[in-house]
């Protein structure tokens, strides 16, 4: 390292004396524009600290927060959508579906509300899942697929113990009610025969008449008032093979659903009703 400043031959600029593998660092001064920009940044920062929250526990004189910004945006958005939501709140789901403008708004809003609240159990497109999560896209309804029935089910929920009018009655567990495994097997065969899967049998019919008819009906047509599913169709909530049906008879099933009436506002429930009705299985 040289003691006195060394000058680079090509550029005529002094070097810093630092050298890496023969490459020497030039000691060029900072460009003036760079230096002034740097000073301007420092001045800007000083002003910023006064006006905006920059230090711990110091709010800044403008009182700005990101959260207040967000709530202002949300407030503006609520104000923007409120006229439509007011109309949706005041109308019945059937009336909403009949008005193209309201229907479009309700389908869009319902899609979002469905994804936020319902898709966890019923699936992204309302396809449901075997094991007690009913499909909302098919034409099989436990409590009815009309606008009113869907709205009611969403509002009160199913067997949740939180709403006095919650849907559904309890199914007895027939293994505890005294049916033997053999009887349960016979009964399962008979239930399968209701939808054309296998032959009917006299013992099975007798067991069915004794234990099931009250809720599920003579021919397995179900009862929407009680929430007793149809047994004579091709849709099975807990699986449609003999073993699964046998387990259902032996241990009973009791699906639950929260009462959304206390969680969602009426406009959202109306939009959800219209959306679910339009998934493909809505009834008049």
């Amino acid at each position: 390292m040289a003691l006195k400043p060394e000058t680079d031959a090509v550029s005529g600029v002094a070097t810093t004396g630092h050298e890496w593998d023969g490459i020497k660092e030039l000691d060029n001064p900072m460009p003036a524009w760079w230096v002034y920009t740097f000073y301007a940044c420092i001045a800007f920062a000083a002003v910023w600290v006064v006006f905006y929250p920059s230090l711990p526990f110091v709010r800044g004189t403008l009182g700005y927060t990101g959260r207040s910004d967000l709530s202002r945006v949300m407030e503006a958005e609520r104000a923007r959508t409120e006229p439509m939501l007011a109309r949706i709140r005041a109308a019945t789901p059937a009336a909403i579906a009949a008005d193209p403008e309201l229907r479009g708004f309700a389908l869009a809003g319902g899609r979002v509300a469905f994804a936020n609240n319902c898709a966890g159990c019923h699936g992204a497109g309302g396809q449901g899942a075997v094991g007690g999560f009913p499909s909302l896209a098919d034409d099989d309804w436990i409590y009815g697929g009309s606008f009113d029935a869907i709205q009611q089910t969403i509002t009160v929920g199913v067997r949740n113990g939180e709403h006095p009018d919650a849907r559904g009655v309890a199914m007895p567990a027939f293994a505890q009610a005294g049916l033997t495994p053999a009887q349960i097997g016979t009964l399962a065969d008979h239930v399968l025969s209701l939808s054309g899967a296998g032959p009917a049998s006299a013992p099975g019919a007798a067991l069915y008449a004794e234990n099931c008819v009250a809720c599920h009906g003579d021919r397995g047509e179900g009862n929407r008032e009680l929430g007793a599913p149809r047994l004579n169709d091709q849709v099975w909530l807990y699986g449609g093979d003999r073993a699964a049906i046998g387990r259902t008879i032996a241990n009973a099933r009791a699906g639950v659903m929260p009462a959304w009436g206390s969680r969602l506002d009426p406009a959202t429930i109306n939009m959800l009703t219209v959306y679910v009705h339009a998934l493909g299985g809505g009834e008049q």
């Binding site: 090509v10 550029s11 193209p100 229907r103 699936g123 992204a124 497109g125 309302g126 396809q127 499909s135 896209a137 098919d138 034409d139 099989d140 149809r230 169709d233 091709q234 849709v235 339009a278 493909g280």
Partner: protein, 489 residues
């Protein structure tokens, strides 16, 4: 012993040397002024042309309507998904540039490039205010007088005004021209508009006022690879050294035509000496041709000591005059050795062929483009639904795009396995029971279609399917394909 040491390579670092181009008049300069006026005129006038498209639609003839995602060009209206027509146009422009370069050299750089056009304009302003080359050099080297500061301020003011007008003109291609100009002037334009207005103003000001020839030499990739398009038959700006050398005073006996007056160097906008041969920095503007012709005219010598010339001719003239003494004989021998311009060559034929092919493909693509399209998107959640009677149902989102403003409605039929039932939500059916889809003029209408296969059909897991739109005469006007999914049979 001979010196065998390798000379040190020239330094990679070059300090900036300010160029003071001198004003010049002549044939090339006149052509350049005409091109400048024509190009800037077209650029400024086009956004103001109107084209009536009916109510509710922009009536600007050329408009890239970003907000509404439409590109208007007189009678043509393109949607974002048809941007490949613009891509095709850019490809055509690129090949056209290759062809022009291989025929006539850097005429793009020298005459039509925006960088050249605006730099020319800014130089003209600079000369009006600060004087020509010598006055500018003298003033720059002298003290900071009041006169110098005033002139400098006036120059930058004029530059900024021109730059702003340029930025404004570019904005006009993206928003309604009369509206956006009024908004900018009255302070009512959006922040984005002011941002882009400021951006284009700043780039024009910096590139044409300060960066100038450095853009061509250091920033632009085109000079770097256009050597691949040039050959010995392309026209390039050349110094005919076979008649110019050896240089000397006009009265010197035995000297060539070049009197070493430096005019060609003084007028050069990139500050080079053309007599050193072909150089990367030369943009082929030909101003040195004018400067030299002027001097030759005053000396009553034949013009064209510096000229647009093919390198093949230069070599032929050099060969023909080798060993001859300067004088009229040498000049005549050299000029006689030249051959007419060789325009038709394999290279130019190839460019012409590619140009024709691309243009034909684009024209065919444009003439055959669909103005009514149907897209069928199968819903994936759920892929299919089993209904209570055991039948399988698939749902589809149908998107019917109408790129015209004519309107109309079409019947939808299904082309797939027999027995499928088709229902489209929220639509009416015609007399034959087919769903009727109304189009949305200049927009996309969305429908939800449900297709059901009875339990007795026993379809495969995946079955191709096609939706067809029929007009009143039963002709298929659009179709979209998808698949019908079901459980493993």
């Amino acid at each position: 012993m001979p010196d065998t040491s390798i000379p040190a390579p020239p330094p990679l670092y070059a300090a900036h040397r300010k160029v003071y181009p001198r004003a010049v008049t002549g044939r090339v300069r006149s052509i350049k002024w005409a091109v400048l006026v024509l190009l800037l005129g077209v650029y400024y006038v086009v956004p103001w042309l109107r084209w009536d498209r009916g109510p509710g639609v922009p009536n600007q003839a050329v408009l890239a309507d970003i907000a509404n995602a439409r590109l208007f060009f007189f009678w043509i209206e393109l949607w974002p998904q048809e941007i490949y027509f613009l891509t095709g146009l850019l490809i055509l422009a690129a090949i056209g540039l290759f062809a022009a370069t291989s025929l006539f050299g850097r005429i793009w750089c020298g005459f039509t490039c925006p960088q050249t056009v605006w730099t020319d304009l800014f130089l003209w302003v600079e000369r009006r205010i600060e004087g020509d080359r010598n006055a500018r050099m003298k003033r720059d080297a002298g003290p900071r007088t009041r006169d110098r500061m005033l002139r400098r301020a006036a120059k930058h003011g004029a530059w900024l005004a021109i730059a702003a007008a340029t930025g404004g003109a570019w904005i006009m291609y993206f928003q309604d021209a009369p509206t956006v100009v009024r908004q900018i002037v009255t302070g009512q334009a959006s922040l984005q508009t002011y941002f882009f207005f400021g951006l284009f103003t700043a780039t024009t000001y910096v590139l044409a006022g300060f960066a100038r020839e450095q853009v061509c030499t250091y920033m632009c990739p085109w000079p770097r690879f256009q050597g691949a398009m040039l050959d010995q038959d392309s026209l390039v700006v050349t110094y005919r050294d076979w008649r110019g050398e050896p240089r000397g005073k006009p009265k010197d006996a035995g000297s060539g035509d070049c009197v070493d007056c430096g005019a060609c160097v003084h007028v050069c906008p990139t500050g080079i000496d053309i007599r050193e041969g072909q150089q990367l920095q030369c943009i082929g503007c030909g101003l040195c041709v004018d400067a030299c012709d002027d001097v030759m005219g005053k000396l009553s010598r034949p013009r064209g000591l510096i000229a647009f010339e093919a390198l093949a001719n230069l070599a032929a003239s050099t060969a023909a005059t080798s060993g001859m003494a300067p004088g009229p004989q040498r000049f005549l021998a050299g000029m006689a050795a030249r051959r007419p311009l060789h325009l038709i060559r394999p290279r130019t034929m190839m460019y012409a062929g590619v140009l024709t092919a691309v243009a034909a493909a684009m024209l065919a693509g444009f003439l055959l483009r669909d103005t009514l399209t149907l897209t069928a998107l199968a819903e994936r959640a759920p892929p299919y639904v089993r209904l209570s009677d055991g039948s399988i149902r698939n749902a589809y989102t149908l998107k019917l795009a109408d790129k015209t403003r004519d309107g109309g409605q079409y019947a939808l039929v299904l082309d797939g396995p027999a027995g499928l039932r088709l229902v489209v939500q929220d639509t009416a059916a015609d007399a034959a029971g087919r769903p009727v889809l109304p189009v949305r003029r200049d927009g996309v209408a969305t429908f939800r279609a449900l297709v059901t296969a009875g339990r007795e059909l026993h379809l495969a897991e995946s079955q191709p399917l096609r939706f067809r739109l029929l007009d009143a005469a039963g002709t298929v006007v659009a179709s979209g394909s998808s698949v019908f999914l079901g459980p493993h049979p």
